[in-house]
Subunit: 335 residues, 4 copies
């Protein structure tokens, strides 16, 4: 599997901090509420260099389903609670004015989260001039800069310029992200005070938008809506390994005579390298990042390392943007 | 890998005839024009039983890109030529009236091909009453029945009823399909006189719409817009095999010192089972359908056998529906 | 003002019963709740012939504003109460199945009320097959037939056919209407058991959809979203008359030194024909229907008798369709 | 009709120069091509003060119908020809970079012209960095600032800031306008080098966008899509006068026995004040601006001076934005 020339390395396309950190358990705090998992990570200077991820606080909310209205409410309430904590942490005051920026392309469903959230946000800034609002409301303005493929303009430059002109006290940036795991797509909300790199998750590095570039607190909220083919295949290879081990252990389990397809992920199984090699040959000898590098070399030259999104993307992105929009309204105003 | 209970079998989720037939080369006629491949298959009674696919004529147009306007024209012209042949084959006369049915859900991008094509179709039926059209036009009416999840009604019943009432001389049905191959998604148009099973490609069997049920010629035009995770993984396993063999053969090829990622698919390579086993262990010993069955058992119980669509789906479906709409206008009228 | 040839008469373009009846006070019952007016009219055989309006029960809810969430709730609650009374009146049972039909063109904002309401309706019919719903739900299915300009097909024929096939116990039809009064546009909901004539309000008579044609109860809900230029001008002529009389009476009223533009409509003023003639010459001698006939003769030959809609139509139609959709859900199910 | 207090004056809501100028014939040049009228006006310092309209060059193209593809081409070609003349007049060079700004609210059909045009414009600026374009293309970038009701931000401030940052050589601004004449709505394109006042046509004065504020050439393209009720009524009053005079003159004309509704606008008729008074009483004695002021006083306090748009607005705005978008592409690039 050696190559005679230096190859470009597979760049992990993720915007989620919890996916960048190998020994995540050492540095994170995890809470489970019903079937919702909340993970808090602080990335300091040292870890930041190790994993090439900006230092800052990261809170991740993972959930199973929000199409049901009961689950929707549960996830939204956790979002509001955690987002308010973030506002406190950053010392945002009750009267601080806020600019919410919806990144992404409103014409491309998997990339339209930002603009869709903006549609659901209560805009108040211009009403303050008219003295129409009472003390329960904060000044909120919004902005959708579009994407470079639409405007021809560098998105981060648009944002820096607008922030420089209107001088909000803090900004909130909403963006659709890429994930490194099938099971997080449309099922994870990340919030962070480390800002954002527009398009970095999907492979186009653009200039950073953060406290360092804007000089005001810069909260980013993201939801992964796409995943690449490499991720789907490498995830599946790991599931094959677990499934093989589970099947070997349970071949005589009478339960399996009743349940055709047990959910082996729910079981605590000790995996060993030997099984992986038996099942998967040379591929079974590679570690995760080697497998991804191999898949990159296999899929990229033939043009099949696509970014994909579940076919239900329209309904999910609509529901998620409603959740974030309403969650922001509850967090930012006293309503 | 044995299971102690009888398992549900993996149902291949494809609507493409060329993907259902194993020894496709024996029964098909293939033409290559530039980089566009046209495949014609006649499925007779005998083959129909073998592959569980309705008998009839199938023409498939495979292409690489239609976002470029030059390629768009080329593909559209081939579509018009092949579709007119189909009209002749079915003995459709110049004055026969046509009802075009756009299947699918206009609110779900990957499933919106049918309704979007309808938007681009020239509707003339009502103008004939007013005597406003000259002889170059055919009577065309259109109809979008929606999907059962929207309407609560069985789609095939709606169609049968409407056809029974308005009595067109023939119908054309447009639908988004599922593919069994990554490289056909949004890059293949299938036309057939065998009718359609709404939703069959994505796993919900509904009642058939065909000459047998409608008693008039029933042309179906479909484009695969989704693929399942099993397909992505099993395709990739085959690519890994080819890539491995190619790399072994070319390890000392000086060319590879220059080209980091050669497109190994372009090369004629003789694959052997031995290599596959070395590379992929037990998995390498399985044939294609066994691998898919295994992946079905691995991914289904944990809920990860998603249907996915490329993230550019909005632009592609829009462009494809323009092509089919304009292609139909040119084929049906003398314009 | 005589014409030497027999002229086509101005057809009043209204779908509202309360606008068709001259001496409306004699035959109607009117309730005012806050600033919402509810009018009930029963048109019997005799009146039906006089005013060329189908016999049946008509309930009209007139309101000022539903963009405010407080008013929205108030109007919705009245809608639910009145609609449930209608269901009782027609002897609709708790378990009777319902087909809701959204008339109109989803691509034309002022005509999109029907399709938009359908988007907000809870569809349950297909879930009954799966035994997924409890006793609080009724079978509801929905259907949007499109308009003839889109489909080329006669809308009433589509509906009759679909109803004949699926045999619901009753139907509800939603449509955007035309009004004969500026102040009712987007501010009036009419419900009736007399059915509907698609497009009749805007001048294209199509076949009736009613108990007589469908043989099941047929409730129609309509909101006027358009008004013609003749209406705007003739309404204004009447306002000029009132304004003139009011100004004459109040020329020395000291209040008018404070209020530049008093709302003269709120005042009880006795109008007289003399004033109208002084103010408006020959035009002032004509009665309402003569003025409309004159305006028809003035505006029609030069192509300016347009149907218009307020420029805020997108927001209003969206809000109104949410109200009707949610109101129907509350009325039809036990939720 | 006197008021005892000083009243707010009726502000003519028009953005069209040809509607602001009384003796338009004295200062304009008019060309008729088929049924398309092109009017050129130069407003100098002196006239500017008289009519309260910015000095500059104004070209207006008036047409009857662009839904027919033949007329569409004719109007588009005239637009391209006249717009290129404007580029020359302003000394815009072949390589000068251009920022196109789409004003208005994409969620409100009558106000969505700007954002819709932007969708049809060829954006090239970012491709220049990649060296992907040949010499036939100019650098074009685009931007939609939204409206204050959506963003909470002053639109002109957003624009000034973006222009200051990206430093295009010139800007083109697209906006939907208000008209003072029924027959110009959706049937007139105005281009000018005098810039624009966002929202001024519909009554909200915002800061100017022009050469004076941006310090680069600033072309504005506008199409009236709305008209107020006052305009509809006052236009109709004038048509009544003409119709009355025409009818009097032609009462014995035998032609009128054949044509029920002759188009009296096509006739040269000498109008006299006497007829107007006979027909319209006191109202007939008022001149145009007095009638508008009266209508303002009649309609404003009762809330009926609505801005309206024809009910076909969706189709017309879509077609017009295609024309302007394609016209700009042809004018700006060598394609």
């Amino acid at each position: 599997m050696k190559h005679s020339v230096d190859l470009e390395k597979y760049q992990i396309r993720t915007d989620l901090a919890i996916e960048s950190i190998k020994n995540i358990d050492d540095i994170s705090e995890e809470i489970i509420e019903d079937d919702i998992k909340i993970t808090k990570v602080i990335i300091d200077e040292k870890i930041s260099k190790e994993i090439n991820k900006k230092k800052g606080n990261y809170v991740t909310i993972e959930f199973l389903d929000i199409t049901d209205s009961y689950n929707y409410e549960k996830v939204k309430n956790i979002f509001v609670r955690e987002f308010k904590k973030f506002l406190n942490l950053l010392n945002i005051k009750k009267d601080d004015s806020c600019l919410i920026i919806g990144l992404g392309n409103s014409k491309s469903t998997p990339d339209s989260l930002g603009p869709l959230v903006i549609n659901n946000v209560l805009v108040t800034n211009h009403l303050f001039e008219l003295d129409e609002l009472d003390k329960d409301y904060r000044r909120v303005s919004v902005f959708c800069p579009g994407v470079m493929g639409q405007t021809g303009l560098e998105t981060s430059d648009i944002i820096t310029t607008i922030v420089g002109k209107f001088k909000p006290d803090f900004v909130i940036i909403i963006d659709a992200l890429a994930s490194q795991s099938i099971d997080r797509v449309n099922k994870t909300i990340q919030m962070t005070d480390s800002g954002i790199h527009p398009g970095s998750g999907v492979g186009n590095s653009r200039k950073e938008i953060s406290f360092e570039t804007l000089h005001i607190p810069c909260l980013a909220i993201g939801i992964p809506t796409v995943v690449d083919a490499i991720t789907i295949v490498s995830d599946t290879i790991n599931y094959m390994h677990k499934h093989y081990t589970y099947s070997k252990l349970n071949i005589n389990n009478p339960l399996n005579k009743l349940i055709a397809y047990p959910n082996y992920l729910n079981e605590k199984i000790t995996l060993n390298k030997k099984d992986k090699e038996t099942l998967l040959g040379i591929v079974g000898t590679l570690d995760d990042s080697e497998i991804k590098q191999l898949l990159f070399e296999v899929l990229t030259p033939i043009g099949y390392n696509m970014m994909v999104t579940p076919k239900e993307v329209d309904f999910l992105v609509e529901k998620l943007s409603l959740l974030i929009g309403n969650g922001l309204n509850e967090s930012l105003h006293n309503i």
